[in-house]
């Protein structure tokens, strides 16, 4: 391993600009003659719009334009779409209600976008928005997913009982049969609490129309600018793709919430033409992020697990109600279906599984993918019920898991997935050792002496990443293919530019992708730059989510690098007057087998461009290659996280005192960066388990947790330092052997924490977040029951 190649802890190349305050986030960009947008949002959960009264503006108001749904209709701008078709059990297509970029006739959640004011300054836009008088007719509303189907609210005409689809996966008959043979059945009702993503950079957009060329440009906080361009062209019908450039510059975190195409960015770019081409800038206030970013999770599940007398799992069944919010967001429908129920086998050989998912509309912000997307929900169901089953059957929870692990690969689960490689015993054993599982009883006794309740919990998660073979997702309803593209441009002096369709918003691609190039071409990592996030520069790409940038994005780069090497060998052969088959390439040097003739990579690059020494009728001048890579399978990262907590009896405060994570991500390009991903993921999962929870008031439909005063983000003092280690089984479906690491922590953590908390308290279940108040109530309930 070179000190900048695959596996090296290379310091990040992108850091210099961030630590010196020179990052370029969307809100840092200002265009000439720019105006500012402010959105008028619905204060009601569900209402008709009776009228919109716009005052007569004076010059000092600075108003440039006010636009509503009528203008959108006039310009025939299409609505926001959901790009994944799900069919119900009865074969009917999902019921997608219209989602105009500015409301037409009706609002469906608090924060719904009603009108936009464009003004000379931010302050003027906001002040003018407050003077627009919208008259509403209130309608019945529902915010609770579990109550949506039976509610008096009728949110979309196309969706009776507010039901989007009733979907199922697996074999019901086989599963029922497995349950009829069961020695023991464990039943659990589980709520996966709704979360608000909260990337630290609020969403922002600048849209502009160039009158001279009838061309649009959109700067936006996006994880996938090409998909944004495609959707804005093909579905909103704003402009054909060659007339629209989308740029996603530095983006301050995404976690899924910046995958989606949102109304605000489409409005900014559309309305710019309406005001004659002056750019329009919009930056969300944090309050708007709470109200109008796509939320995550929101599942209500009943699950049952059947075991034989030895604690071997015979079958799993579950019924889930998934809240989708008031509209179907870009990828909303695949999250509680193909990203969820397909992972219900966990790390276990379960012969029969049957899952039903009812997706419902509620009068809340749309719900879509959030770090892990469906897989945390699946892991939470599996790992909570497995833990509960082990306790009920009085089997050590580690032993219970061991007995049920998938042990040979490939393994076909009853829910679509074929696990290709893994070693679940290895990660469990390593984690048990690091966490000193044997010493737990002693630590528990010591804690009891201090008056603390100590508990331990496992999460043996699996996830499916690298999303995904295009034909496979197409057959499951996806509207897009999920390959990735890359272009390698070698400059005449031998420096290298990589153009990638992946997008980095914290993941460190400028470093890890350059490591791959340094490794493959033997060039100095500082001579490699990574270009991403601009549709005018990069040919096409599907963006970054689902931990796909390594397994899919880097594989595309690797393929293009292979082509570069092949062509460079041809050039080198001509220059050194040798047979192509005799050219060897190692550590950045081309040499002729059995001779001392050699050329450095940069010399060959120059030779390729000057094109003096080879027949250009056979070999084209230049050194630039591109590749598209379509994965042949999902990848299956898996691991074991062990959480140990101490609970204060008097205050109900839970302290995480130990965290061990042993993950198998296949090949790790940069352990420093991968560890960082795990740290961040765990902390988001700890947030879900202990502090975060989105609450809408059932009576008013208002978002109660609409600021950092009420929505409790995990702080530095809420988490410990983590103990991390890895095991490695190579992923067989990509040449680099990578599996992906971005979501693992957030997938594993909630179950690990809640298994530990319930262990400490001696209760079966507890709702998340297990806040001090919730824990204190549980403590007193058991105490009272005992008395």
């Amino acid at each position: 391993m070179s000190d900048t190649g695959i596996g090296a802890r290379v310091k990040r190349k992108e850091d210099h600009r961030f630590i010196t305050g020179k990052g370029q986030y969307t809100d840092d960009i200002n265009l000439k003659d720019q105006t500012y947008a402010y959105f008028v949002r619905s204060p009601y959960a569900h209402a008709t719009i009776k009228s919109i009264k716009i005052p007569k503006w004076k010059p000092e108001d600075g108003v440039v334009g006010v636009f509503t749904g009528d203008h959108v209709a006039e310009d025939k701008i299409g609505g926001l779409i959901c790009g994944w078709m799900i069919h119900s059990k009865d074969g009917s297509p999902m019921k997608a209600g219209p989602h105009p970029i500015l409301a037409q006739g009706k609002v469906r959640y608090v924060g719904d976008h009603v009108a936009v004011v464009v003004a000379e300054s931010k302050e003027q836009a906001k002040a003018a928005a407050a003077r627009i008088n919208v008259s509403y007719g209130e309608l019945p509303h529902v915010v609770d997913a579990a109550k949506a189907a039976k509610s008096a609210a009728q949110i979309h005409d196309v969706a009776p009982n507010n039901t989007v689809f009733e979907w199922s996966l697996g074999d019901k008959t086989a599963t029922d049969a497995a349950f009829s043979r069961a020695h023991h059945v464990t039943k659990l009702d589980i709520v996966n609490n709704r979360l608000i993503p909260n990337a630290m950079e609020p969403r922002a957009a600048i849209g502009s129309w160039d009158a001279g060329n009838d061309h649009y440009t959109l700067y936006t906080t996006s994880q996938n600018p090409h998909v944004a361009r495609l959707v804005i062209s093909a579905f909103h019908g704003l402009a054909p793709e060659h007339k629209l450039r989308v740029i996603a510059p530095d983006v301050g975190g995404g976690f899924g919430s910046k995958i989606f195409i949102y109304a605000e960015e489409v409005v900014c770019v559309w309305a710019s033409k309406r005001i004659g081409g002056r750019p329009i800038k919009w930056t969300a206030e944090r309050t708007e992020s709470f109200l109008a970013d796509a939320h995550g999770r929101d599942h209500v599940t009943h699950a049952e697990l059947a075991m034989d007398a030895q604690g071997r799992i015979l079958g799993l069944k579950c019924h889930t109600i998934a809240g989708m919010g008031a509209y179907l967001s870009t990828f909303a429908s695949c999250v509680p279906t193909y990203l969820y129920a397909t992972l219900l086998s966990g790390q276990y050989a379960i012969p029969a599984i049957y899952a039903e998912v009812d997706a419902v509309y509620t009068n809340t912000a749309p719900v879509d993918a959030y770090r892990g997307a469906g897989r945390p929900e699946a892991t939470y169901v599996v790992e909570r019920i497995v833990e509960t089953a082990a306790r009920e059957m009085k089997i050590d929870p580690a032993e219970f898991r061991r007995r049920n692990f998938v042990k040979s690969f490939p393994h076909q689960t009853p829910v679509i997935m074929t696990y290709d490689a893994g070693d679940y015993d290895a990660s469990l054993e390593k984690a048990l050792e690091i966490a000193d599982y044997r010493g737990f009883a002693q630590r528990k006794a010591a804690a009891a002496k201090k008056g603390k309740l100590r508990g331990i919990g496992f999460a043996n998660y699996i996830e499916a990443c690298g999303i995904a073979p295009s034909a496979a997702v197409g057959s499951l309803g996806a509207g897009v293919g999920l390959w990735e593209s890359a272009e390698v441009r070698v400059n005449p002096v031998g420096t290298v530019e990589i153009l990638t369709g992946s997008h980095s918003h914290g993941q460190g691609h400028e470093t890890t992708f350059a490591q791959l190039v340094s490794d493959r071409l033997g060039v100095d990592i500082n001579t490699v730059s990574i270009v991403h996030g601009d549709t005018d520069k990069v040919q096409f790409g599907m963006g970054t989510y689902g931990s796909r940038s390594g397994a899919v994005g880097m594989t595309a780069i690797a393929k293009a690098l292979d082509k570069v090497e092949a062509k460079a060998k041809k050039v080198a052969a001509h220059v050194m007057e040798a047979a192509e088959g005799d050219i060897e390439f190692k550590n950045g040097t081309f040499s002729v087998k059995g001779t001392d003739k050699k050329m450095a990579f940069g010399e060959v690059a120059l030779a390729a461009y000057v094109a003096h020494k080879f027949p250009t009728s056979e070999i084209e001048p230049g050194l630039k290659e591109s590749a598209f890579h379509d994965p042949t399978n999902f990848t299956f990262p898996a691991g074991c996280h062990i959480c140990e907590v101490e609970i204060d009896r008097d205050t109900g405060v839970t302290e995480i005192v130990n965290w061990t994570a042993v993950d198998d991500f296949g090949t790790v390009i940069n352990p420093m960066i991968v560890e960082g991903q795990v740290h961040g993921g765990i902390t988001q999962g700890v947030g879900q388990a202990l502090t975060e929870g989105c609450v809408y008031d059932p009576d008013s439909g208002q978002l109660i947790t609409g600021s950092y005063m009420d929505y409790c983000m995990p702080r530095a003092s809420d988490v410990p330092s983590f103990k991390l280690d890895f095991t490695e089984t190579k992923c067989p479906s990509n040449p680099l052997g990578m599996k992906g690491c971005g979501e693992a922590g957030a997938i594993a953590a909630p179950a690990a924490v809640m298994n530990a908390v319930t262990d400490a308290l001696g209760v079966r279940d507890l709702p998340m977040p297990a806040s001090p108040h919730t824990v204190w109530k549980a403590l007193h309930a058991t105490k009272m029951a005992a008395e």
């Binding site: 010196t20 630290m200 950079e201 301050g252 914290g506 960082g676 740290h679 530095a716």
Partner: protein, 154 residues
Amino acid sequence: MSAISMKVNGKAVCGTVEPRTLLVEFLRENLGLTGTHVGCDTSQCGACVVHVNGKAIKSCTALAVACDGAEVTTVEGLAKNGKLHPMQEAFREHHGLQCGFCTPGMLMAAVDLVKRKGKKLDEATIRHELEGNICRCTGYHNIVKAIQAGAENM
């Protein structure tokens, strides 16, 4: 509108602002110093932390007029003569940042923390003192390590 002047990162600057203009708006909009970020509207995230007269404050919660005549240091003023501040070095060395959005505020809060509590900082103190700075990416693990190391090198 009021005319104000201050010293920002060692340079004398002036401008006219409305009475309601926040210090962060003055820095970002008037002076183009976009290293200082805005992450919330309730004074909690700490993305906006700068030093005013040697003390860390949240620049989203200070009026520009109230800082008339003050000496202000932002993240852009941490490095001196092309040499990174030890805290900046430590954040890079220990991978204390991912998306970088919270980083300017973290750096400014960290430098202030060392000034107040000294160079030997234990983990518990650092975690407690970071109450006013939210990071969504790093899980704090490496930020804590970076601050500990940066403090020793200051």
